[in-house]
Symmetry: C2
Subunit: 187 residues, 2 copies
């Protein structure tokens, strides 16, 4: 059982493109649905969608409003409950500050990456950390993953998800779902 | 390590709608991408997209062709490799017969459901079954899940995915990713 202190952040800037350059990415609305549904399933306290672009933030808010206050929520109350977890912020720093203020506790940030990084931690280690009196934010990158400049600001990096094959190109929706399952249900 | 004998099937008919009635569902193209990427990550041998509707089968084939033979594959060879796993079939029975012919082995079918069913098996039990000389198909439903008439034809049903909260409305993309991770990496 979670201590109600795990948050998720989905970053649209700074992330990498396929040529290994830092960029800002456009919103993919299905990310909001899938990661919100996984978040509520696994007891995540809040899901931050991070974009510095005003038009993208507006789009995110329109999707959220449709499902939480508009006709969508009437048609599908389960979706309403999930999307109510979403908050939109311009920068990751803003999100961390908002969690810090809300909980009045230190915030521990954990980056995710599809590449193995020296010193990355296992989900089992993260499970133990969640017992501490602190909020924890699990950070996911859109496009080709988080830019180093953001990873460098995080306290920890999680081990990548490996499977049976030499292929590490899961969608961010799949990766977030798998990590949350591993963290909550153990590995 | 998988014995190279696990398949995935995504069913668009017969599935349930939110009023608990059996229906046929429309294709969601992101399902093809996300489940193909998870399938190749975890060593799945083939991913069957099942739809009896000709226009939906055509749409599926157009998406696959764009990424495996068209410009998509040139732009993103990783996506090409994933989508090459997809095969389109009109019925689940057709898919099972095609696997049976290809491998000349019995085919064991395993339904998934968000609801707990009496006698459902754990992923650990399924892992042990994968050691047998047989092909295994993990079956997922779109919309509000597989219809009973299809579940009843399957040999086994997997335990649902539970999290921390009383909420069992993961996307089929998330559920497929989590089950494959559990089966391959153990739980």
């Amino acid at each position: 059982m979670l201590k109600n202190n795990l948050y998720v952040a989905l970053i649209h800037f700074p992330v990498m493109n396929k040529n290994d350059q830092p960029i800002g990415s456009a919103l993919t609305t299905i990310d909001l649905h899938d990661i919100a549904r996984a978040s509520i399933t696994f007891g995540v306290k809040g899901f931050y969608v991070i974009t510095p672009y005003e038009d993208q933030a507006t789009l995110a808010k329109q999707v959220i409003e449709h499902w939480t206050k508009g006709v969508g929520g009437k048609l599908n109350p389960f979706r309403k409950k999930a999307l109510e977890l979403i908050r939109v912020a311009a920068t990751f720093e803003d999100a961390v500050n908002s969690i810090k203020e809300e909980k009045n506790e230190p915030v521990v940030t954990i980056a995710t990456s599809a590449k193995k990084t020296v010193g990355s931690i296992t989900t089992e280690t993260l499970r133990l950390k969640l017992e501490n009196e602190a909020s924890h934010v699990l950070v996911f990158g859109t496009a080709w993953g988080l830019a180093d400049e953001l990873i460098d600001t995080c306290d920890f990096i999680l081990d990548p998800i490996y499977g049976d094959a030499d292929y590490n190109h899961l969608s961010v929706r799949s990766a977030a779902s798998i990590y949350l399952d591993r963290i909550i249900n153990g590995r």
